[in-house]
Subunit: 391 residues, 2 copies
């Protein structure tokens, strides 16, 4: 099937992919008097008297805003708010499908950090959570961080969703190759939102002092100019900060230099960047996650040729699809169910372990559950809930 | 039935009254590849190449934001964004029920005019129309007026929805009492959003120069301090402006003074304000619309005792319920169907006449269609569409 052509037809025929539906019919005068005037005044009064009642009497407890500025959409880049809508509608469908969450696209006609922050604050009353989506780094870091105290979880899925699912796959891949996760040397290629969040989660940057810490030995992060090290010019703040928890030996060089003796390659960059020869320079039984879409950094066949032991991609037509869908629905489900005020590092780790634990006996071709397995989200939700309650 | 008590139970049981639903199932990998990555990239690209394609490939063409700041909610007043949510959800149900429109509540955590205006502009990309709701006057006038050029209709229902339905009822009531609408002397009590919009529409202020003009002879507007006239102190801008198209003789005095010899009383104020004795001082066969909820300015029985010929209220348990539900669903349906950029005075008049024309033979007890008559919205939509296309 030509997904592109068919998808265009589908979108045109459906005129968008989501709808808003009443939870009950309004047929009689009594119906009208209960869902609207005069009866509706009573839940309004209850909330006016006690703000917390908004969780009981409105859609807030099950509703998430998918907020984007259209600046970093899929592999398409900065296509703007309107062109991003089909992606956000698709995401809303996945929220519904996997976690029965009502999600609605808020596609903003601004790419200014301050304006995005204040707009999200203003629209927050009706939402129980905010999923930031496809907002370009490093702006996305600041936006997310400035929104952490608004009383509902604000979660940038491109960062943390990706990091959580990658960690889940890595936990199982390490088992397959019989290496301790704590001793892994990891190369991350791509230092945008996803790359940095993966590095932080794998190095346990945000929860060093808790019992819920799991950290790989070392990470080398690369961007399009090669290894990120302290002598590089013009590193943005996020990349400078990265140096405090990566590249302990302050190596310089190319991506290829970084790969020598590494145990793991994680690509969140673009297609066809490394070869079998590069994989051959890595440590024995390397783990290769090439997540660029639709063409991974290295195709599985080529990676195996170079000696890879476990290979994952972002593609649905290949084994070990490392896809955010395994994360965000259950994470938000769990957070909403306990009315969490934020999604903490402990909740994120719990989600990663729940996804990993879903696979009883990991093998090279099965380090992560199938994307469409609908039981995953409920397991994740449960784990996230428990972690939240323990805090 | 105790609507208040039952409504509270209903809201708690349903946890809010609307949901977001996918328009198709996502069961297979193909489904996922079509509604989300990779296929979704194609409609995104199509919109990036031609912004207008957003109407074809997304929910925009059928989606309306119900925007409030919670400052003037029903009869409850300034209860804030969270407490307003049940009303906005109810409104969304009515949009769906009567016009198959997907409407979503945007309840803003700000009551600042500038902030509301800029927030609406920023969230506009995904919406085909904006229904402003329960925003206090005179702020609501400025907000609406500053949003007229954003490329999609912005319609303050408390103003224009009410005015349109009142005009519809008045057209038929005038037929019942065999008076020409052009010769009517009208008293409006209440000079907030609804009162001023009614006055403007009845005096044809916004479309004097078009063929679509219908104007009553004179209006006297009153507020809680009595007749609005030029010697009054501290009139806000909206009330000052009102004097240019009302109270031609610049009368001073009380509401009771205003009623002497008037043909029509329209109350958008509060309950139990006038008596049968007041009605007796009006012209012969007076028309009485007491729209305060839940207690009208005068109960029908009392009005008839004073000699009223036609009586309407806002109540569903009495004849001639003058309710916005007869207006906004069809008005937005028509506007969305022609992708109107604004809702013009001509479209508003067309809506009023469509509602009035729905009643073939008006009688004292039937000057307006039943609120739950689902055919009204489609007739209104058609009329609005036609008016838009003629412009």
């Amino acid at each position: 099937m030509d997904y592109f052509k068919e998808s265009l037809h589908l979108h045109k025929a459906l005129k968008g992919k989501i709808r808003v539906q009443g939870k009950m019919d309004v047929r009689t005068k009594d119906d009208l008097s209960l869902v609207y005037s005069p009866g509706v005044a009573e839940p309004c009064r209850a909330i006016a008297a006690d703000e917390e009642a908004v969780w009981d009497y409105t859609i807030k407890s099950n509703t998430v805003a998918i907020v984007t500025d259209g600046s970093a959409v899929l592999g398409l880049g900065n296509i703007g708010a309107k062109a991003s809508i089909p992606v956000m509608e698709g995401k809303a469908m996945l929220f519904k499908r996997f976690a029965n969450i009502d999600a609605f696209p808020i596609c903003l006609d601004t790419q200014d950090t301050d304006e995005i922050v204040e707009t999200v604050k203003r629209i927050a009353p009706v939402f129980g959570g905010i999923n930031l989506e496809d907002i370009a780094a490093p702006r996305s870091f600041e936006i997310e961080s400035r929104l952490q105290d608004i009383g509902i979880p604000v979660f940038h899925d491109d960062q943390h969703g990706t990091a959580i699912v990658v960690l889940a796959a890595l936990i199982n891949a390490a088992k397959v190759v019989k290496k301790s996760i704590f001793n892994l040397k990891v190369v991350i290629n791509g230092a945008g939102a996803a790359g940095i969040a993966i590095a932080r989660l794998l190095r346990c940057v945000d929860n060093k002092d808790t019992d819920a810490c799991i950290a790989v030995k070392d990470i080398i992060a690369c961007d399009s100019k090669g290894i990120i090290h302290s002598k590089r010019n013009n590193l943005n703040t996020a990349k400078q900060e990265l140096l405090s928890y990566s590249n302990a030996e302050d190596k310089a060089g190319t991506l290829q230099d970084a790969l020598v003796d590494a145990d793991v390659f994680i690509g969140v960059s673009k297609g066809n960047l490394i070869t079998a020869d590069d994989v051959r320079t890595m440590a024995k039984n390397p783990i290769i996650f090439g997540l660029a879409n639709p063409i991974p950094e290295i195709m599985p066949e080529e990676a195996y040729k170079g000696g890879a032991a476990v290979v994952g991609t972002g593609r649905s037509d290949l084994p070990n699809q490392i896809n955010n869908v395994l994360g965000f629905p259950g994470i938000f489900r769990g957070a909403l169910d306990v009315r969490a005020k934020r999604i903490t590092p402990k909740m994120k780790l719990a989600a990663a372990f729940a996804i990993a634990d879903f696979i009883d006996h990991p093998t090279a071709d099965m380090v992560i559950p199938a994307t469409l397995n609908e039981r995953v989200a409920w397991r994740v939700a449960d784990a996230v809930k428990q972690a939240a309650q323990e805090e």
